[in-house]
Symmetry: C2
Amino acid sequence: MLKHIKNTKLKKKDIYLCEECIEVFRAMADKTRQAIIFVFAAKKEICVNDIAENFTLSRPTISHHLNIMKRAKVLNTRKEGKEVYYSINKSYIKGLLTSMLDSIDSCC
Amino acid sequence: MLKHIKNTKLKKKDIYLCEECIEVFRAMADKTRQAIIFVFAAKKEICVNDIAENFTLSRPTISHHLNIMKRAKVLNTRKEGKEVYYSINKSYIKGLLTSMLDSIDSCC
DNA sequence: GCCTAAATTTGAAAGTCTTGAAAATAAATT
DNA sequence: AATTTATTTTCAAGACTTTCAAATTTAGGC
């Protein structure tokens, strides 16, 4: 991480926050994944099949996108029998957005 | 945009906001660009050369990254003679983060 | 234990992004 | 007008992402 920067005075804490943000930005920087997020506006908890029905994409593709957002902590999962239910990790996203707003005020 | 979604009730306004967010997320979802942003914590306005001096990357590469962030409205530019000065578009970023926080509360 | 259904993993093709070298542009200086 | 300096554009190579088909795993029903 930060491999291209020459001499930085950055603290480990800042670098970790930065990595966390990159993972979330990556998770959100895609048309399909934004579209998936819109599905959650209508229904709070959804399984892969239910999401796939709203899309022209294959199930493995939807599963892959959900996994990217899960790894970034943008989505939560809950297993119930054969189904895996996904939901938005509202508190995590809100916390991160709030930290970003604070950082902009304090350091820029 | 939203080409993979089957039947959506989304309004044009929401789709435009979504596209705007994707552009900003894309602009921020990169190690090098995040590292560039850290340079602005120390110095408010910087030209390409000054940024390039802090990095092991070539000038065209730095210029390319700055351009991506400029297109996403994350950075502002000001030309002074030969130099182009870049700075963070604080008000735009704050506005967008605030809109996102509002959306999370109202629709999720 | 075998079958079905839901989800994930694997592997490969197509597409996008990052990068630097070289060429081009833009502005100041001699 | 030629030169130098700062930045951008163009082009091509390499790395990473998206996507689907096929195979695999996981859980429930017969």
